[in-house]
């Protein structure tokens, strides 16, 4: 499943970038996400719980970051193993932070998500919707956190 999102935040590009490359802060802003352990500078262990319709999916796995500070571009690869036979989730996401003005920043996100198991069988009609909702919640938190 492909996810394309674009949103603007009323904050300087530098502070948005600082926020987005801090896994702890990102996890705190994303409902259900959690960072449990830092494996090395770019790799973390964590978990993600998400409800898709009647299905409650609970993943544990690793997140690896690859940052391009100059371009303010991040590429993230997350691999999760579902609990209770939920199957696996695998996501590659690239995001870019673009300065639109001194206190206006655009974030573009392109992600490719692949899931297996019951979520792929029953949840596919709802996953886009759930993803949109999660981005909305995330950007709200981001805006609040970075509010001047």
């Amino acid at each position: 499943m492909k996810i394309q999102e674009k949103f603007t935040v009323d904050a300087p590009a530098d502070s948005v970038w600082e926020f987005l490359i801090d896994p702890e802060r990102v996890a705190a802003a994303l409902p259900g996400a959690q960072i449990t352990e830092k494996l090395d500078d770019n790799t973390y262990k964590g978990g993600m719980a998400v409800n898709v319709g009647p299905l409650a999916a609970n993943y544990t796995g690793t997140v690896a970051f690859d940052l391009d500070e100059e371009q303010r571009a991040a590429s993230v690869r997350a691999r999760g193993q579902g609990k209770a036979g939920m199957g696996n989730a695998d996501m590659t996401m690239t995001s870019r932070v673009v300065e639109l003005g001194p206190a206006k920043t655009e974030v573009t996100v392109a992600a490719n998500l692949s899931v297996t198991g019951i979520l792929a069988q029953l949840g596919r009609g709802m996953m886009q919707h759930v993803s949109k909702r999660m981005f909305k919640q995330f950007t709200e938190v981001l805006a609040r956190e970075l509010a001047p």
Partner: protein, 810 residues
């Protein structure tokens, strides 16, 4: 039935053949008093629930059962490693392939069994399943059977020694060279590629069993959803002999079954895990699949990709048929066809038409789908064969500009030609195809419909008429060719008449809703003259029923039904001797009317069959063995070949592409009819199960191997809402070799309906250049993109994103 049945030979009281006796099993079914697997409980019974693979292909890195075992009520978690200790982690399939019971290292399809959780309740078992942590290392699955044969495809069955690609077997029938020659010289050749997709039997009752091993006696009883209890018991004895199970100490009981349709012939891992758990724990263990497990893990049918060609002369006389097929079996060849017939009875593909030669070949491949290929209401691949032929015959009619009914009539095997030897080796027992065609055309008003269609086309409305004249091949089968794991495919009956003239009849088959308790009772009534109401029919318990191969492939009436006739005739012969003794005349001086022996010329001097039964226990002729009991094991001399013509009328909504079946006439000829009402019921059910695959049903997978139709939310089986009012009729062409002249009927309609419907849809669009539609013909497959763009040639067909339609004008 629309027409009158021949007058029955017996009275309504006796209720033999030809009477529409109400089904003896219905009072319990209609009152919710059936006795299914899940109705069985035993003291101390435990529950099995199964951990299943969420991925289609991958390595098992680790199975952590610790959290599951902490749950109150969870007693054990069985994995492949546990079964390996008993050599039970693999099992043979009925096709001499192998299949995992539980994996030790690799999973091969989504929903594959990975571990079994045993608990004191169903709920605790389900909680345990959710708590078992399995770590997988996913691999890229092979989902496309064509890609499975490419050179760079990974070899899936690395467990099989010498397996170097994903090919399972190659099968062929017919004379290739002679057929090719006819094609080379033919005036007309038409060709279509078609897919009969994977579907699911979707019976109301899922699979399940209750395994009860008594460690003191060493005795195993398995209550099981199986269509073939005797064969299953023998298989259990053969594969589990090394752990101490011996055939005389195994009892398989198949109680009431809520629909089998071939899906309950194979042995699925769940059964084996439950049995293994019961043997290991010494307690009864019950396993009942839930709906999603059933739809995702087992009971799959079809999945034949066929490339069909017909050679004909310019007038449309068929000269030869050539079919090349790719069969997607999933991860194992676990179908349940007779041993010598890996592609089932696909070679019936020349159908109702006389032709010089034919050649058919099938290549079977492995993919990362669950094992498939069960004979879903079909006598082993007959559905695929008939769909292929009946579609391509329409293509030919279109090509040579003939009405599809006329083209069929001109190619029918004439009734004088029976017994007919088909180019692919069958001896058709009897047939009168023109009679069925005439009757179907008359019932539906064929000529008027063609006029109506022409008028509607003028107005731009879409209406189609589809014809299918199928020939089925049923009743496997004669022992010289037919066996399953070496066991010949005879079937059996044992009839005992009690002193008061009531009887019990036991059979080697097993009803799953077909009405055997009624049909068999009527067969005994016909032959013995006892009221059918007084004949108790029993099947399904290997401790009491005579040995038989079970019920599938419409074989019950052709095999076990015939055995019942033969056993009853033995008893009638014995009764005649007793009657002669009672009436003090010689046997030759007796006349037989159903139920009564009377002295020739003195009809008031008579005894009833009940009198004879009583005398068999109380007043025997000197030297006669007491009792009134007979057994017969019937080895049919040939298969039976029922046939019929189905005509379907569809209207297609120009805007949405939705297909509505306006009328459907089914004229069947299943030989002599035992119970017309049951036959009609079978045809109604079969037609509905043919409508499903034609318009709605398909089991699809995404490229990662995720099942995309694993619930009834996504897998649409037709309900009363979708089902049209079926119109049925029949002709009667008795089988010359069956003792009652009957042929079997359970599957004709499932086989005949899909091409009739598909042909009707193509017919509605033929003037637009459409020559073929893949089934299921669902509006959302892109049909909605059909739109009218008036032009010189009328319409332009534009079907976007769908390869299912081939149109010559764009």
């Amino acid at each position: 039935m629309a027409d009158a049945t021949a007058k029955p030979r017996t009275s309504a009281k006796i209720c033999g053949m030809g009477h529409s006796m109400k089904r003896k099993e219905d009072p319990r079914f209609l009152q919710g008093k059936g006795n299914y697997i899940d109705d069985h409980t035993l003291p101390g019974m435990l529950w099995l629930d199964i951990v299943r693979s969420p991925i289609a292909y991958g390595k098992i890195v680790n199975i952590d059962s610790s959290k599951a075992l902490e749950i109150d009520g969870v007693l054990a978690v069985l994995t492949g490693k546990d079964l390996e200790a008993y050599g039970l982690h693999w099992m043979p399939t009925l096709m001499s392939d192998t299949q995992m019971v539980l994996p030790t290292d690799t999973v091969m399809y989504q929903a594959q069994e990975v571990a079994g959780v045993i608990a004191t309740s169903r709920y605790a078992a389900a909680d345990g399943v959710a708590a078992v942590e399995v770590e997988y290392e996913a691999m890229t699955p092979v989902m496309d059977p064509f890609k499975a044969l490419e050179d760079d495809a990974p070899v899936l069955r690395t467990d099989k020694e010498g397996q170097e690609d994903n090919r399972i077997w190659h099968w062929e029938a017919g004379d290739k060279e002679a057929t090719d020659k006819i094609f080379d010289e033919a005036d007309v050749v038409v060709r279509e590629k078609m897919h009969v997709p994977r579907i699911h039997v979707a019976s109301i009752e899922t699979c399940g069993c209750l395994a009860d091993f008594n460690p003191v006696e060493g005795h195993l009883t398995v209550y099981m959803t199986t269509q073939a209890p005797h064969a299953i018991r023998t298989v259990l004895a053969l594969v589990a002999g090394h752990v101490g199970l011996s055939e005389e100490k195994i009892r398989v009981v198949s109680p009431d079954i809520g629909g089998g349709f071939g899906g309950k012939v194979p042995v699925y891992p769940g059964y084996v895990i439950a049995i293994a758990a019961s043997v290991v724990l010494g307690k009864p263990v019950k396993w009942i699949e839930d709906r999603m497990e059933n739809l995702q893990a087992d009971s799959f049918a079809r999945d034949y990709h066929m490339d069909a060609e017909v050679a004909a002369d310019a007038g449309g006389k068929i000269k030869a048929l050539r079919i090349k097929t790719l069969a997607d079996h999933g991860y194992a060849d676990a179908q349940a066809a007779p041993s010598k017939f890996p592609a089932g009875l696909f070679s019936i593909c020349t159908g109702s038409y006389d032709m010089e030669n034919a050649y058919a070949e099938v290549d079977a491949v492995y993919t990362n789908k669950p094992p498939g290929g069960v004979a879903y209401r079909c006598s082993f691949r007959v559905t695929e064969a008939v769909h292929c032929l009946e579609r391509i015959v329409d293509t030919l009619a279109h090509k040579v500009g003939k009405d599809p009914a006329t083209l069929r009539e001109e190619n029918f095997i004439p009734k004088e030609a029976f017994p007919y030897h088909s180019p692919l080796g069958w001896e058709y027992d009897s047939g009168d195809y023109q009679a069925a065609m005439d009757k179907a055309k008359e019932m539906i008003g064929y000529d008027d419909l063609r006029k109506e269609q022409a008028e509607k086309r003028e107005r731009g409305e879409l209406m189609g008429i589809g014809v299918c004249s199928f020939t089925e091949v049923l009743g496997a089968g004669p022992s010289k060719d037919f066996d399953i794991l070496g066991i010949k495919m005879f079937d059996s009956a044992e009839v005992r008449v009690h002193p008061t003239g009531k009887a019990i009849a036991r059979f080697g088959t097993k009803s799953q809703g077909q009405g055997h308790e009624t049909t068999y009772a009527q067969i005994i009534a016909e032959e013995l003259g006892l009221p059918a109401a007084h004949v108790q029919v029993e099947e399904g318990d290997t401790d009491t029923a005579p040995y038989g191969l079970g019920t599938y492939a419409s074989r019950s009436t052709p095999t076990a039904g015939a055995a019942g006739v033969m056993a009853a005739r033995k008893l009638r012969d014995k009764a005649r001797k007793i009657a002669a003794h009672l009436l003090e005349v010689s046997e030759e001086d007796l006349d037989w009317e159903p139920g009564t022996f009377s002295v020739k010329g003195a009809p008031d001097k008579s005894v009833t069959i009940q009198d004879c039964a009583f005398a068999a226990y109380t007043n025997l002729p000197e030297g006669m063995e007491p009792g009134m009991e007979a057994t017969n094991y019937y080895d049919p001399p040939n298969l039976t070949f029922p046939f019929g013509t189905y005509i379907c009328v569809v209207d297609i909504d120009r805007g949405t592409g939705e297909v509505t079946v306006r009328r459907f006439v089914a004229v069947d000829d299943c030989g002599n009819i035992i119970n017309p009402m049951i036959v009609q019921g079978q045809i109604h059910g079969g037609l509905t199960q043919g409508l499903g695959p034609a318009l709605y049903e398909e089991m699809t997978y995404d490229e990662d191997g995720n099942n995309q139709a694993g619930s009834f939310m996504d897998y649409l089986v037709p309900t009363a809402v979708e089902t049209p009012a079926w119109e049925t009729g029949h002709t009667v062409t008795p089988s010359p070799h069956h003792p009652l002249g009957a042929k079997g009927v359970g599957e004709s309609a499932t086989v005949g309906a899909p091409p009739a419907i598909a042909n009707a849809v193509v017919d509605a669009l033929a003037h637009l250049g459409v020559t073929h539609m893949e089934i299921p013909i669902r509006p959302e497959r892109g049909w909605g993109a059909l739109r009218g763009e008036g032009g010189e040639g009328g319409w332009v067909v534009s079907v976007m994103g769908w390869g299912g339609v081939r149109a010559s004008q764009w």
